[in-house]
Symmetry: C2
Subunit: 354 residues, 2 copies
């Protein structure tokens, strides 16, 4: 029909949908009044509200979120920025966030990033500037990156970091007490008579790794057990790295009688490596992991591990965002510290007699 078309994506919505004007006309009030009904303004005649609501449901009117977003200068989107340490964890976090968003107008958009990439910060900056999200949630391990938090500040974007460390800043952080949880787990091994306990630490520079390692050392120190350097191996939270670390520990002589791995992937690798060389778990080797991911229950023997309430933490992080960080009107503060607990399964047995 038109003489020439400029190149634009073809629209699709907005043809048959009723607008706020239709509602206003049919209920005999102004747009503004309808808007007041939608936004639950308290200064509003009860009869008017009812009438408008009737028309709304009759017409099946749904306010256009784009228009709302434009007018309100908020886009009702929460971002989840993560660099996938573990699929189950990411999905649990998504679940927690979505639980918090339930019943609100907010939605979640997901942004995986590449921790290793040099362009990571620029990517995120670009992302934040373009999308102008209401706020973002940062997942460990990338949440430990302070530059990222500064970036959010600069971009004027609210944020909450999930972590496994002490709270530096309760307004922007939700954390679990990894150190204490690992101390308790290690103490449990010691209780079972183990004296030669190997540690597969997390990657250098990660707060969670440090916390877990400290918890481990706390327990040994309490029991006055010395920790030779050789009993410490490092992995980067992947199965492959755990395998290498486990092999190193299992080749020691004398072999440790127990190993604490800083996450389940690496603990699974320990079990894997042990089986490969005919070492019986838990008969000759006890193993404890961390995370309580499904794999810990599915392998044989099922892993004793530390469960951290990741879904609750994520939910709390999202609520914290929505309740307006640092704004004085947040009535009930969301909890910021969560307790992890030891889940006892079959991968731990009393230490064999020498």
């Amino acid at each position: 029909m038109s003489s020439r078309a400029e190149d634009t994506p073809s629209p699709r919505w907005g043809t048959g949908k009723p607008t706020i004007n239709d509602v206003a006309r049919l209920s005999g009030v102004s747009k503004k009044t309808v808007s007041r009904v939608i936004n639950r303004s308290p200064l509003l005649n009860e009869d008017t509200r009812k009438r408008v609501l009737e028309v709304i449901s009759e017409l099946g009117y749904v306010p256009n979120p784009q228009a709302r977003a434009l007018a309100l200068r908020t886009n009702f989107l929460i971002g989840l920025i993560h660099d996938n340490p573990n699929a189950q964890m990411v999905l649990n976090v998504q679940q927690g966030i979505l639980e918090a968003l339930q019943g609100t107008d907010f939605e979640m958009i997901v942004r995986p990033v590449d921790r290793g990439s040099a362009a990571m910060l620029d990517d995120v900056r670009h992302f934040l500037q373009r999308q102008r999200l209401y706020g973002v949630i940062l997942l460990p391990p990338i949440s430990e990156n302070d530059a990222l938090a500064r970036l959010c500040d600069e971009a004027g974007c609210r944020y909450v970091r999930m972590g496994s460390a002490e709270l530096d800043d309760a307004d922007h952080m939700v954390a679990s007490n990894d150190r204490e949880a690992v101390r308790a787990a290690t103490a449990y091994l010691i209780e079972q008579g183990h004296r030669s306990i190997g540690l597969i630490a997390g990657p250098h520079g990660f707060r969670s790794a440090t916390e877990r390692r400290q918890g481990f050392e706390d327990a040994l120190a309490e029991a006055r057990i010395k920790l030779p350097r050789s009993l410490i191996a490092e992995g980067n939270y992947t199965f492959a790295s755990g395998l290498a670390a486990a092999e190193k520990l299992l080749d020691l002589s004398p072999r440790p009688t127990a190993i604490f791995a800083s996450n389940d992937e690496m603990a699974a690798a320990v079990v894997h490596a042990a089986r490969q060389r005919g070492v019986d778990v838990p008969g000759q080797l006890s193993v404890i992991g961390f995370d309580d991911t499904p794999i810990s229950a599915h392998i044989w023997p099922p892993l004793t591990t530390v469960r951290w309430p990741i879904v609750s933490m994520a939910r709390s992080a999202a609520l914290k965002l929505l309740s307006g960080i640092g704004e004085s009107d947040s009535e009930v503060a969301e909890p910021s510290m969560f307790l992890s607990t030891l889940v006892r399964r079959a991968s731990v047995a009393p230490a064999p007699n020498p």
Copy 2:
């Protein structure tokens, strides 16, 4: 300043950001011309374009996506609707979709739903109506729900279903050839001398379950092996259900010498159950799974399994959405059928001599 404030969420963006008007003023052209530059309109003087681009980069101008969305009646959001069958799979799909969205203005929002819930369809309907997404991608197993596809049609929302069946409708579907892949996997077991092979089927009513079962039966029929009913157990793709099914099969006498499980979770359960009752895998029992999720490589022994190119499929599904389904101008059709392949690991051995 104002005498009274109505209750609205506090805005946060839009205070300091340069707008298209700023760019227009500073480069001495009209808004429309700036808009043309942004949208890469071809009818545009090269010098003007350069000048505007300079001003844009100088100002650090970023177009407001909400305003664009409103004007274009499209919100540049792709929805992923899934009911979590498996964390790794969901995450792989997210990765594939995001790869496809890379460099476009689109973002992905995630919507997990509860397959069991009666309110599921209403939830989704409500979600689609409210968000007015550009399009959605449906993941199995929920993608097999025809009512859901109809819902998308009614809501005027583009969609692509990912599946494991034949293509009913290549415009709206991306699929893998499960049947053939399972046939090949089963044939491999037969090649290894197995004659008594158990099947842990997927849940009744699921297309993927049917396809895989048929592939299994195809292979047996080819080799003229009879399949007694007792060798078929059913699970619902969870570890727990796999455990129950595995126990049933392992308690048979004579015991099957191999088991094909319709996904890795259930295959892992078979290994788990076997170990529990001292049956050696693969010495006394060979196992094959399906999906090639990480657990298949991490348990001992590592599982032989069928890998389907889920990331590529998801990427293709997203590209299919973006390229405008059913619109005549889609130049190169996205591939719709993907081939799954057998990954041979240590869980299969030749059948023991009776």
